[in-house]
Symmetry: C2
Subunit: 242 residues, 2 copies
Amino acid sequence: MAELYVVGIGPGDAKHMTAAARAALDASDVLVGYEAYLDLVRPLYPDKETFSAPMRRELDRCRRALELAQSGKTVALLCSGDAGVYGMASPVLELLPEYEGVEVEIVAGVTAALSGAAVLGAPLGHDFCVISLSDLLTPWEVVEKRLRCAAEGDFAVALYNPSSHRRADHLQKACDILLETRSGETLCGVVRSIAREGQEARILTLAELRDARVDMFTTVFVGSSATRKLGGYLVTPRGYRR
Amino acid sequence: MAELYVVGIGPGDAKHMTAAARAALDASDVLVGYEAYLDLVRPLYPDKETFSAPMRRELDRCRRALELAQSGKTVALLCSGDAGVYGMASPVLELLPEYEGVEVEIVAGVTAALSGAAVLGAPLGHDFCVISLSDLLTPWEVVEKRLRCAAEGDFAVALYNPSSHRRADHLQKACDILLETRSGETLCGVVRSIAREGQEARILTLAELRDARVDMFTTVFVGSSATRKLGGYLVTPRGYRR
Protein backbone atom coordinates (compact mmCIF):
# COMPACT_ATOMS: atom_id res chain seq x y z
CA MET A 1 0.00 0.00 0.00
CA ALA A 2 1.36 3.42 -0.98
CA GLU A 3 1.86 5.41 2.18
CA LEU A 4 1.87 9.11 2.99
CA TYR A 5 2.74 10.27 6.47
CA VAL A 6 1.66 13.81 7.39
CA VAL A 7 4.11 14.54 10.17
CA GLY A 8 4.15 17.21 12.85
CA ILE A 9 7.84 17.74 13.51
CA GLY A 10 7.40 20.03 16.53
CA PRO A 11 8.93 23.48 16.96
CA GLY A 12 12.23 22.77 15.21
CA ASP A 13 14.78 21.04 17.36
CA ALA A 14 14.91 17.27 16.82
CA LYS A 15 14.53 16.74 20.56
CA HIS A 16 10.93 17.96 20.42
CA MET A 17 10.03 15.42 17.74
CA THR A 18 8.12 12.31 18.83
CA ALA A 19 9.48 8.82 18.24
CA ALA A 20 6.56 8.23 15.86
CA ALA A 21 7.55 11.29 13.81
CA ARG A 22 11.14 10.08 13.64
CA ALA A 23 10.00 6.60 12.64
CA ALA A 24 7.85 8.07 9.83
CA LEU A 25 10.80 10.08 8.50
CA ASP A 26 13.07 7.03 8.83
CA ALA A 27 10.62 4.94 6.80
CA SER A 28 10.12 7.49 4.04
CA ASP A 29 11.79 7.54 0.63
CA VAL A 30 11.00 11.24 0.07
CA LEU A 31 10.59 14.17 2.45
CA VAL A 32 8.26 16.92 1.23
CA GLY A 33 7.84 20.30 2.89
CA TYR A 34 8.42 24.00 3.03
CA GLU A 35 12.15 24.59 2.51
CA ALA A 36 12.72 25.93 6.04
CA TYR A 37 11.22 22.76 7.57
CA LEU A 38 13.31 20.54 5.32
CA ASP A 39 16.38 22.45 6.50
CA LEU A 40 15.51 21.47 10.08
CA VAL A 41 15.56 17.74 9.33
CA ARG A 42 18.22 17.56 6.59
CA PRO A 43 21.05 17.12 9.12
CA LEU A 44 19.23 13.99 10.33
CA TYR A 45 18.62 12.64 6.82
CA PRO A 46 21.34 14.04 4.55
CA ASP A 47 20.80 11.39 1.89
CA LYS A 48 17.01 11.40 1.54
CA GLU A 49 15.31 12.72 -1.54
CA THR A 50 13.42 15.97 -0.83
CA PHE A 51 10.82 18.10 -2.56
CA SER A 52 9.97 21.64 -1.51
CA ALA A 53 7.60 24.33 -2.70
CA PRO A 54 7.52 27.90 -1.43
CA MET A 55 5.21 29.26 1.31
CA ARG A 56 1.62 29.75 0.03
CA ARG A 57 2.13 26.88 -2.40
CA GLU A 58 0.78 24.43 0.15
CA LEU A 59 -1.60 22.73 -2.28
CA ASP A 60 1.27 22.06 -4.70
CA ARG A 61 3.18 20.41 -1.87
CA CYS A 62 0.19 18.29 -0.88
CA ARG A 63 -0.46 17.18 -4.46
CA ARG A 64 3.20 16.39 -5.02
CA ALA A 65 3.29 14.32 -1.83
CA LEU A 66 0.13 12.45 -2.87
CA GLU A 67 1.48 11.83 -6.40
CA LEU A 68 4.77 10.51 -5.06
CA ALA A 69 2.91 8.18 -2.70
CA GLN A 70 0.66 7.02 -5.52
CA SER A 71 3.75 6.25 -7.63
CA GLY A 72 4.81 3.77 -4.95
CA LYS A 73 7.15 5.83 -2.79
CA THR A 74 6.78 6.14 0.96
CA VAL A 75 6.47 9.86 1.60
CA ALA A 76 6.61 12.15 4.65
CA LEU A 77 4.96 15.56 4.32
CA LEU A 78 6.48 17.77 7.01
CA CYS A 79 4.52 20.27 9.07
CA SER A 80 5.96 22.64 11.64
CA GLY A 81 4.47 21.94 15.09
CA ASP A 82 1.49 19.62 14.74
CA ALA A 83 0.25 17.97 11.53
CA GLY A 84 -3.32 19.11 12.14
CA VAL A 85 -3.18 22.57 13.75
CA TYR A 86 -2.98 24.91 10.71
CA GLY A 87 -1.05 22.03 9.20
CA MET A 88 -1.18 19.94 6.06
CA ALA A 89 -3.47 17.19 7.42
CA SER A 90 -6.63 19.06 6.35
CA PRO A 91 -5.66 19.85 2.74
CA VAL A 92 -4.20 16.34 2.26
CA LEU A 93 -7.41 14.69 3.49
CA GLU A 94 -9.46 17.01 1.28
CA LEU A 95 -7.44 15.99 -1.78
CA LEU A 96 -7.12 12.30 -0.85
CA PRO A 97 -10.30 11.10 -2.64
CA GLU A 98 -8.59 12.05 -5.94
CA TYR A 99 -5.63 9.74 -5.25
CA GLU A 100 -6.78 6.15 -5.23
CA GLY A 101 -4.70 3.63 -3.35
CA VAL A 102 -2.87 6.11 -1.13
CA GLU A 103 -3.02 5.41 2.59
CA VAL A 104 -2.53 8.43 4.85
CA GLU A 105 -1.33 8.43 8.44
CA ILE A 106 -1.45 11.64 10.48
CA VAL A 107 1.39 11.86 13.01
CA ALA A 108 0.67 14.45 15.73
CA GLY A 109 3.38 16.79 17.00
CA VAL A 110 3.96 19.49 19.59
CA THR A 111 2.29 22.63 18.23
CA ALA A 112 3.67 26.11 19.07
CA ALA A 113 0.88 26.73 21.61
CA LEU A 114 2.35 23.92 23.73
CA SER A 115 6.07 24.40 23.07
CA GLY A 116 5.81 28.17 23.51
CA ALA A 117 3.75 27.77 26.69
CA ALA A 118 6.47 25.50 28.14
CA VAL A 119 9.03 28.26 27.59
CA LEU A 120 6.87 30.84 29.40
CA GLY A 121 5.71 28.53 32.21
CA ALA A 122 2.10 27.37 32.05
CA PRO A 123 -0.09 30.03 30.40
CA LEU A 124 -2.43 27.36 28.97
CA GLY A 125 -3.01 25.54 32.29
CA HIS A 126 -6.77 25.92 31.94
CA ASP A 127 -9.28 26.26 29.07
CA PHE A 128 -7.80 28.01 26.05
CA CYS A 129 -8.31 29.02 22.41
CA VAL A 130 -5.95 28.93 19.47
CA ILE A 131 -6.58 31.62 16.86
CA SER A 132 -4.60 32.52 13.73
CA LEU A 133 -4.40 36.22 12.86
CA SER A 134 -3.70 35.44 9.21
CA ASP A 135 -6.47 36.55 6.86
CA LEU A 136 -5.01 34.78 3.84
CA LEU A 137 -7.55 31.96 4.15
CA THR A 138 -10.05 33.41 6.62
CA PRO A 139 -12.09 36.61 6.33
CA TRP A 140 -10.81 39.12 8.91
CA GLU A 141 -14.39 39.54 10.27
CA VAL A 142 -14.30 35.87 11.31
CA VAL A 143 -10.98 36.44 13.10
CA GLU A 144 -12.47 39.48 14.89
CA LYS A 145 -15.57 37.55 15.92
CA ARG A 146 -13.46 34.74 17.37
CA LEU A 147 -11.25 37.18 19.27
CA ARG A 148 -14.38 38.77 20.80
CA CYS A 149 -15.76 35.36 21.80
CA ALA A 150 -12.40 34.29 23.27
CA ALA A 151 -12.23 37.50 25.31
CA GLU A 152 -15.82 37.18 26.47
CA GLY A 153 -15.26 33.58 27.56
CA ASP A 154 -12.17 34.64 29.55
CA PHE A 155 -10.12 32.00 27.75
CA ALA A 156 -6.35 32.02 27.71
CA VAL A 157 -5.46 32.50 24.03
CA ALA A 158 -2.56 31.45 21.82
CA LEU A 159 -2.29 33.63 18.72
CA TYR A 160 -0.58 32.19 15.63
CA ASN A 161 0.67 34.25 12.67
CA PRO A 162 0.51 37.49 14.68
CA SER A 163 2.21 39.54 11.99
CA SER A 164 3.70 39.62 8.51
CA HIS A 165 4.92 42.26 6.09
CA ARG A 166 1.52 42.47 4.48
CA ARG A 167 -0.40 42.79 7.77
CA ALA A 168 1.94 44.41 10.27
CA ASP A 169 -0.95 45.83 12.31
CA HIS A 170 -2.97 42.63 12.88
CA LEU A 171 -1.71 42.10 16.42
CA GLN A 172 -2.54 45.69 17.33
CA LYS A 173 -6.04 45.29 15.89
CA ALA A 174 -6.44 42.00 17.77
CA CYS A 175 -5.35 43.59 21.05
CA ASP A 176 -7.80 46.46 20.56
CA ILE A 177 -10.61 43.91 20.21
CA LEU A 178 -9.48 42.00 23.30
CA LEU A 179 -9.21 45.29 25.22
CA GLU A 180 -12.93 45.96 24.61
CA THR A 181 -13.58 43.26 27.24
CA ARG A 182 -10.29 42.48 28.97
CA SER A 183 -8.15 44.62 31.24
CA GLY A 184 -4.98 46.25 29.92
CA GLU A 185 -3.26 44.60 32.90
CA THR A 186 -4.05 41.11 31.56
CA LEU A 187 -0.77 39.18 31.53
CA CYS A 188 0.56 38.08 28.16
CA GLY A 189 3.69 36.47 26.76
CA VAL A 190 5.54 36.30 23.47
CA VAL A 191 7.98 33.60 22.39
CA ARG A 192 10.10 33.90 19.26
CA SER A 193 11.98 31.10 17.48
CA ILE A 194 10.75 28.44 19.90
CA ALA A 195 13.37 25.72 20.49
CA ARG A 196 15.58 27.24 17.80
CA GLU A 197 18.79 29.25 17.96
CA GLY A 198 18.14 32.69 19.39
CA GLN A 199 14.92 31.74 21.22
CA GLU A 200 13.50 34.77 23.04
CA ALA A 201 10.60 35.07 25.50
CA ARG A 202 9.00 37.98 27.27
CA ILE A 203 6.12 38.51 29.67
CA LEU A 204 4.17 41.75 29.28
CA THR A 205 0.70 43.22 29.79
CA LEU A 206 -2.03 43.29 27.15
CA ALA A 207 -1.63 47.09 26.98
CA GLU A 208 2.10 46.64 26.32
CA LEU A 209 1.45 43.82 23.83
CA ARG A 210 -0.74 46.18 21.79
CA ASP A 211 2.32 48.30 21.01
CA ALA A 212 4.87 45.49 20.82
CA ARG A 213 6.54 44.60 17.53
CA VAL A 214 6.42 40.92 16.73
CA ASP A 215 7.24 38.99 13.58
CA MET A 216 5.99 35.84 11.88
CA PHE A 217 8.34 33.65 13.95
CA THR A 218 6.56 34.68 17.15
CA THR A 219 3.74 32.96 19.04
CA VAL A 220 1.68 35.22 21.30
CA PHE A 221 -0.11 34.22 24.50
CA VAL A 222 -2.86 36.23 26.19
CA GLY A 223 -3.73 35.14 29.70
CA SER A 224 -7.18 34.70 31.23
CA SER A 225 -8.21 36.89 34.17
CA ALA A 226 -6.66 34.23 36.44
CA THR A 227 -3.21 34.27 34.79
CA ARG A 228 -0.41 35.43 37.09
CA LYS A 229 3.28 36.15 36.91
CA LEU A 230 5.06 33.95 39.45
CA GLY A 231 8.84 33.99 39.84
CA GLY A 232 9.41 34.90 36.22
CA TYR A 233 6.86 32.39 34.92
CA LEU A 234 3.50 33.04 33.28
CA VAL A 235 0.99 30.75 34.99
CA THR A 236 -2.72 30.14 34.49
CA PRO A 237 -3.81 28.18 37.58
CA ARG A 238 -5.86 25.02 37.34
CA GLY A 239 -7.31 26.08 40.66
CA TYR A 240 -5.87 23.49 43.04
CA ARG A 241 -4.97 26.10 45.64
CA ARG A 242 -8.41 27.73 45.73
CA MET B 1 21.25 22.57 40.91
CA ALA B 2 18.37 20.37 42.01
CA GLU B 3 16.24 19.68 38.97
CA LEU B 4 12.56 18.92 38.49
CA TYR B 5 11.29 18.08 35.03
CA VAL B 6 7.53 18.40 34.51
CA VAL B 7 7.08 16.07 31.57
CA GLY B 8 4.23 15.66 29.11
CA ILE B 9 4.44 12.00 28.11
CA GLY B 10 1.83 12.16 25.35
CA PRO B 11 -1.22 9.93 25.06
CA GLY B 12 0.34 6.75 26.40
CA ASP B 13 2.38 4.84 23.90
CA ALA B 14 6.15 5.50 24.11
CA LYS B 15 6.20 6.29 20.40
CA HIS B 16 4.24 9.50 20.98
CA MET B 17 6.77 10.75 23.53
CA THR B 18 9.27 13.39 22.37
CA ALA B 19 13.01 12.80 22.56
CA ALA B 20 13.18 15.59 25.18
CA ALA B 21 10.63 13.76 27.35
CA ARG B 22 12.60 10.53 27.04
CA ALA B 23 15.83 12.37 27.90
CA ALA B 24 14.21 13.88 31.01
CA LEU B 25 13.03 10.46 32.19
CA ASP B 26 16.45 8.97 31.38
CA ALA B 27 18.16 11.67 33.49
CA SER B 28 15.83 11.35 36.49
CA ASP B 29 16.47 9.44 39.71
CA VAL B 30 12.78 9.34 40.63
CA LEU B 31 9.61 9.25 38.55
CA VAL B 32 6.55 10.82 40.22
CA GLY B 33 3.02 10.56 38.87
CA TYR B 34 -0.48 9.19 38.96
CA GLU B 35 -0.19 5.41 39.13
CA ALA B 36 -1.72 4.82 35.68
CA TYR B 37 0.88 7.12 34.07
CA LEU B 38 3.72 5.41 35.93
CA ASP B 39 2.42 2.09 34.59
CA LEU B 40 2.83 3.44 31.05
CA VAL B 41 6.54 4.18 31.49
CA ARG B 42 7.57 1.41 33.94
CA PRO B 43 8.35 -1.02 31.10
CA LEU B 44 10.89 1.53 29.84
CA TYR B 45 12.41 2.16 33.28
CA PRO B 46 11.86 -0.97 35.37
CA ASP B 47 14.58 -0.06 37.88
CA LYS B 48 13.77 3.59 38.57
CA GLU B 49 12.43 4.71 41.93
CA THR B 50 8.80 5.85 41.65
CA PHE B 51 6.33 7.76 43.80
CA SER B 52 2.62 7.86 43.13
CA ALA B 53 -0.39 9.47 44.76
CA PRO B 54 -3.99 8.84 43.79
CA MET B 55 -6.09 10.99 41.42
CA ARG B 56 -7.23 14.23 43.08
CA ARG B 57 -4.08 14.25 45.23
CA GLU B 58 -2.25 16.31 42.63
CA LEU B 59 -0.86 18.81 45.12
CA ASP B 60 0.66 15.97 47.19
CA ARG B 61 2.38 14.70 44.07
CA CYS B 62 3.68 18.18 43.20
CA ARG B 63 4.97 18.77 46.75
CA ARG B 64 6.61 15.36 46.88
CA ALA B 65 8.32 15.98 43.53
CA LEU B 66 9.55 19.40 44.73
CA GLU B 67 10.78 17.94 48.05
CA LEU B 68 12.66 15.14 46.28
CA ALA B 69 14.28 17.66 43.94
CA GLN B 70 15.20 19.89 46.88
CA SER B 71 16.81 16.89 48.58
CA GLY B 72 19.18 16.64 45.62
CA LYS B 73 17.47 14.07 43.42
CA THR B 74 16.72 14.66 39.77
CA VAL B 75 12.98 14.16 39.44
CA ALA B 76 10.49 13.75 36.60
CA LEU B 77 6.86 14.57 37.35
CA LEU B 78 4.77 12.80 34.72
CA CYS B 79 1.72 14.29 33.05
CA SER B 80 -0.53 12.57 30.56
CA GLY B 81 -0.51 14.45 27.24
CA ASP B 82 1.13 17.85 27.69
CA ALA B 83 2.77 19.17 30.86
CA GLY B 84 0.82 22.43 30.70
CA VAL B 85 -2.66 21.63 29.36
CA TYR B 86 -4.59 20.66 32.54
CA GLY B 87 -1.21 19.31 33.64
CA MET B 88 1.10 19.68 36.60
CA ALA B 89 3.13 22.63 35.23
CA SER B 90 0.72 25.19 36.76
CA PRO B 91 0.54 23.79 40.31
CA VAL B 92 4.30 23.12 40.38
CA LEU B 93 5.08 26.69 39.35
CA GLU B 94 2.59 28.00 41.93
CA LEU B 95 4.34 26.02 44.69
CA LEU B 96 7.89 26.61 43.45
CA PRO B 97 8.55 29.82 45.43
CA GLU B 98 8.31 27.69 48.62
CA TYR B 99 11.15 25.41 47.44
CA GLU B 100 14.39 27.35 47.27
CA GLY B 101 17.11 26.04 44.98
CA VAL B 102 14.87 23.88 42.81
CA GLU B 103 15.14 24.46 39.07
CA VAL B 104 12.09 23.48 37.02
CA GLU B 105 11.99 22.61 33.34
CA ILE B 106 8.67 22.17 31.57
CA VAL B 107 8.80 19.55 28.78
CA ALA B 108 5.87 19.88 26.38
CA GLY B 109 4.05 16.83 25.04
CA VAL B 110 1.30 15.85 22.61
CA THR B 111 -1.96 16.66 24.37
CA ALA B 112 -5.13 14.60 23.69
CA ALA B 113 -6.59 17.36 21.48
CA LEU B 114 -3.76 16.75 19.01
CA SER B 115 -3.34 12.98 19.33
CA GLY B 116 -7.10 12.42 19.23
CA ALA B 117 -7.47 14.74 16.25
CA ALA B 118 -4.82 12.75 14.36
CA VAL B 119 -6.89 9.58 14.87
CA LEU B 120 -10.05 11.23 13.50
CA GLY B 121 -8.34 13.11 10.66
CA ALA B 122 -7.97 16.86 11.08
CA PRO B 123 -10.88 18.26 13.12
CA LEU B 124 -8.65 21.02 14.55
CA GLY B 125 -7.34 22.25 11.19
CA HIS B 126 -8.49 25.79 11.92
CA ASP B 127 -9.08 27.93 15.06
CA PHE B 128 -10.17 25.86 18.04
CA CYS B 129 -10.90 25.84 21.79
CA VAL B 130 -10.00 23.34 24.46
CA ILE B 131 -12.49 23.13 27.33
CA SER B 132 -12.63 20.76 30.30
CA LEU B 133 -16.09 19.65 31.44
CA SER B 134 -14.84 18.87 34.94
CA ASP B 135 -16.28 21.14 37.61
CA LEU B 136 -13.94 19.87 40.33
CA LEU B 137 -11.78 23.00 40.07
CA THR B 138 -13.97 25.27 37.97
CA PRO B 139 -17.52 26.51 38.72
CA TRP B 140 -19.93 24.92 36.24
CA GLU B 141 -21.23 28.40 35.27
CA VAL B 142 -17.76 29.21 33.94
CA VAL B 143 -17.77 26.01 31.88
CA GLU B 144 -21.22 26.91 30.49
CA LYS B 145 -20.14 30.44 29.63
CA ARG B 146 -17.09 29.15 27.76
CA LEU B 147 -19.15 26.60 25.84
CA ARG B 148 -21.53 29.40 24.76
CA CYS B 149 -18.63 31.58 23.64
CA ALA B 150 -16.98 28.69 21.77
CA ALA B 151 -20.27 27.95 19.97
CA GLU B 152 -20.88 31.60 19.17
CA GLY B 153 -17.35 31.95 17.74
CA ASP B 154 -17.91 28.87 15.55
CA PHE B 155 -14.71 27.33 16.91
CA ALA B 156 -13.90 23.67 16.59
CA VAL B 157 -13.81 22.39 20.18
CA ALA B 158 -11.95 19.66 22.00
CA LEU B 159 -13.70 18.65 25.22
CA TYR B 160 -11.61 17.08 28.00
CA ASN B 161 -13.06 15.17 30.96
CA PRO B 162 -16.43 14.75 29.25
CA SER B 163 -17.78 12.42 31.91
CA SER B 164 -17.19 10.69 35.22
CA HIS B 165 -19.21 8.66 37.71
CA ARG B 166 -20.04 11.80 39.66
CA ARG B 167 -21.07 13.86 36.62
CA ALA B 168 -22.38 11.44 34.03
CA ASP B 169 -24.61 14.09 32.42
CA HIS B 170 -22.01 16.81 31.78
CA LEU B 171 -21.55 15.99 28.11
CA GLN B 172 -25.31 16.04 27.58
CA LYS B 173 -25.55 19.42 29.31
CA ALA B 174 -22.62 20.71 27.24
CA CYS B 175 -24.25 19.54 24.00
CA ASP B 176 -27.53 21.22 24.96
CA ILE B 177 -25.63 24.50 25.37
CA LEU B 178 -23.84 24.09 22.04
CA LEU B 179 -27.17 23.22 20.38
CA GLU B 180 -28.58 26.63 21.39
CA THR B 181 -26.36 28.11 18.66
CA ARG B 182 -25.04 25.23 16.55
CA SER B 183 -26.88 22.85 14.26
CA GLY B 184 -27.63 19.31 15.39
CA GLU B 185 -25.95 18.23 12.12
CA THR B 186 -22.59 19.67 13.26
CA LEU B 187 -20.02 16.94 12.81
CA CYS B 188 -18.33 15.60 15.94
CA GLY B 189 -15.94 12.85 16.89
CA VAL B 190 -15.04 10.82 19.95
CA VAL B 191 -11.79 8.99 20.57
CA ARG B 192 -11.31 6.61 23.47
CA SER B 193 -7.99 5.29 24.83
CA ILE B 194 -5.92 7.28 22.34
CA ALA B 195 -2.77 5.38 21.28
CA ARG B 196 -3.50 2.69 23.86
CA GLU B 197 -4.76 -0.85 23.53
CA GLY B 198 -8.40 -0.89 22.47
CA GLN B 199 -8.35 2.57 20.88
CA GLU B 200 -11.79 3.42 19.47
CA ALA B 201 -12.93 6.34 17.34
CA ARG B 202 -16.28 7.39 15.98
CA ILE B 203 -17.68 10.25 13.90
CA LEU B 204 -21.19 11.37 14.74
CA THR B 205 -23.45 14.45 14.69
CA LEU B 206 -23.85 16.86 17.59
CA ALA B 207 -27.43 15.62 18.02
CA GLU B 208 -26.11 12.04 18.29
CA LEU B 209 -23.28 13.10 20.58
CA ARG B 210 -25.82 14.53 23.01
CA ASP B 211 -27.14 11.05 23.66
CA ALA B 212 -23.84 9.17 23.37
CA ARG B 213 -22.30 7.50 26.39
CA VAL B 214 -18.67 8.40 26.91
CA ASP B 215 -16.29 7.78 29.79
CA MET B 216 -13.35 9.58 31.36
CA PHE B 217 -10.91 7.97 28.89
CA THR B 218 -12.61 9.72 25.98
CA THR B 219 -11.76 12.99 24.27
CA VAL B 220 -14.62 14.64 22.40
CA PHE B 221 -14.36 16.85 19.32
CA VAL B 222 -17.07 19.20 18.08
CA GLY B 223 -16.54 20.59 14.61
CA SER B 224 -17.04 24.14 13.39
CA SER B 225 -19.68 24.87 10.74
CA ALA B 226 -16.97 24.15 8.12
CA THR B 227 -16.12 20.67 9.42
CA ARG B 228 -16.85 17.87 6.96
CA LYS B 229 -16.73 14.09 6.82
CA LEU B 230 -14.45 13.09 3.95
CA GLY B 231 -13.69 9.45 3.20
CA GLY B 232 -14.11 8.39 6.80
CA TYR B 233 -12.11 11.33 8.16
CA LEU B 234 -13.31 14.32 10.17
CA VAL B 235 -11.79 17.41 8.53
CA THR B 236 -11.95 21.12 9.35
CA PRO B 237 -10.58 22.87 6.23
CA ARG B 238 -7.93 25.54 6.42
CA GLY B 239 -9.56 26.97 3.36
CA TYR B 240 -6.98 26.31 0.65
CA ARG B 241 -9.58 25.06 -1.78
CA ARG B 242 -11.90 28.07 -1.42
